[in-house]
Symmetry: C2
Subunit: 360 residues, 2 copies
């Protein structure tokens, strides 16, 4: 049988420590060349949505982890738009007429090649991104970090919040996003999931003023972290390259990316001539040379001890989660699958629905 899980079922199983462990262990394996992620592939073309001209994108990424015996494929099918909100260009995905989105994970056995599990990617993805940034904070933020500033109140922001709270003794989170009702709603919804006190805050400046960790989780395509935020001892965290610019990364004492390896980081935009997206414009992360690029560290090398993180209380540190990897989905989905099987959670579908008695 192939297990079909819903996000609600996954939410009942997933906990942050499980995801932190799965992400860290699989990244150690990858650093040892014992696990692998395929390049992420984005295939884009112009389309016409219910709301007018847009871009359709089909995104895939694969990860294989031989020791765990699993492989995963993560698939996103999206109608994309890039509106300007509060002066910033954003990347947004239009919902279907039924108010839903299309992100899917298929977990395969590497022993039999069969599909073990099919699930939406939302809850798993938010915690694997959150855990990746939080693992960076575990190595880079001050041990006594107590105040977290969180900018952004979308889906990823919740994962950042929960995961950072799991690695440091955070007791206050100052939450900002441009829309007041969004930040109120976000704090109300996420508060039951963490012990720290969530404080909706009406400007980025007042949110970051006394923070030990400043984490952005926005859909902005322009830099969010400001030079004026630089203070001794603070750790800065971004969920994507666009949120942190070159000058900011040059100014901090220790700056890390998730990965500098082109084989796993370069999105392969295969665009029709008429499709031009903000992501396809040049940024500091595309050059892959120069002094900044050279001094940027890679997160897995902190895990393996090849490089050191924070060495003093007053140092500034930064982490940019610059790439999603199929391996993260393989590692986390494997844990979810095992727990779901053990607890009898989910709907069993005939594996024959997704397999065949011929091989082309």
């Amino acid at each position: 049988m192939t297990l079909l899980l819903s996000n609600e079922e996954i939410d009942s199983i997933l906990d942050v420590s499980m995801v932190l462990d799965a992400v860290e262990r699989s990244q150690r394996a990858m650093a040892a060349l014992e696990a692998i992620s395929s390049p992420r592939t984005d295939t884009l073309a112009p389309t016409v949505s219910g709301e007018g001209p847009a871009t359709y994108g089909l995104k895939t990424m694969c990860g294989l982890w031989p020791e765990a015996g699993v492989a995963a494929l993560r698939i996103n099918s999206d109608v994309l738009v890039w509106p300007t909100v509060a002066g910033n260009v954003r990347r947004d995905r239009l919902a279907t007429p039924g108010g839903r989105w299309n992100g899917l994970i298929i977990l395969y056995s590497m022993t039999t090649a069969e599909p073990l599990m099919i699930s939406p990617d939302g809850y798993i993805s938010r915690l694997r991104v959150g855990a990746t940034n939080a693992l960076a904070a575990r190595y880079l933020a001050r041990d006594d970090a107590r105040v977290l500033a969180l900018l952004g109140t979308g889906w990823q922001a919740g994962g950042q919040l929960m995961a950072h709270c799991a690695v440091r003794p955070i007791d206050e989170v100052r939450v900002f996003s441009p829309n007041a009702s969004n930040r109120e709603r976000f704090c109300r919804e996420i508060q039951p999931r963490v012990k720290a006190r969530l404080v909706p805050t009406d400007s980025a400046e007042s949110a970051v003023r006394s923070a030990d960790i400043i984490a952005t989780a926005t859909n902005s395509m322009e830099p969010v972290h400001q030079m004026s935020w630089l203070r001794p001892g603070v750790h800065y965290s971004a969920v994507k390259v666009q949120e942190m610019d070159q000058a900011f990364l040059e100014a901090v004492d220790h700056a890390f990316l998730f990965s500098k390896n082109p084989a796993t980081t370069r999105p392969q935009f295969v665009t029709l001539p008429t499709v031009k997206t903000p992501e396809s414009t040049t940024g500091w992360w595309q050059n892959r040379e120069g002094a900044l690029w050279k001094r940027l560290g890679e997160l897995p090398r902190l895990f393996t001890g090849e490089v050191k993180g924070r060495e003093g209380k007053d140092e500034t540190t930064a982490f940019v989660n610059n790439v999603g990897q199929g391996l993260q989905f393989a590692a986390v989905a494997k844990r979810v699958y095992e727990e779901a099987k053990a607890r009898g959670v989910g709907r069993e579908l005939p594996t024959e629905w997704f397999t065949q008695n011929v091989h082309p």
Copy 2:
């Protein structure tokens, strides 16, 4: 609802002319830069199967066709081995303990991004490969081609046979494969699907002797077409690059590939250090330069009339189907989906199973 189809249901819907039309129209769109395929991605790692050490491979390819409003993802999850059979290295996929294989197509709407259909890839893939080679024969083989030699009796051989019979007045097919019982079984099974007389033949030489078209559909990783087979007026067809070597292609008057575009043809092997496959070794098709590469044509340019095919009865012609494209799956699956909906064929699954109310 998302339509789930089985191979048997697809077989009841698919006919060769539908596939010929879908492949040719979508390739014209691609030639006009109005449709697109992503690079095929093969991610490989060592694994341990029930039969011992093997290689696990997860393969994906995407195609988007805006005019048709659909995108498709084709997924193969395989335990791979490369045994030597009858002196030739072959690529083979091990079956699951239940005797099945894992090839899947997901058809998406480009307007809503929702999954429209999920189906196995076997029957669709065999006819889209067959149709691609047969379309080449439509432009390259003699109009009066009457005898087809078919080498290989696996899954792809059936598609080659049906499709070639649809584009030329074939009345005799001489079928060879090293194993006598395989060729007997193949002819018995496929005979009801074509009008031409199928003749199991006990050597490649006697199969090709009087053929007007010589088509190979093997899983050999070494050249199959022989210089001694060259005769005026014959068209040679291969389902993969390994079947036809450089000397043979240089010797024919007109030689065509499906595509010379690296963005769509280069398999991206992202291998662990310990994984070495016959496909990753060098071949004439990997250089992409030199006199042969320059004179090779591309199939879609025959469709658009940019280049000419056969110009005289005695010319020799060759076609190597060197790449699979996600676009082929989008084009054919769209037709299957429309027919299945119109006829009420298939099982409707809740689209909510594969979508979610959040977007990461």
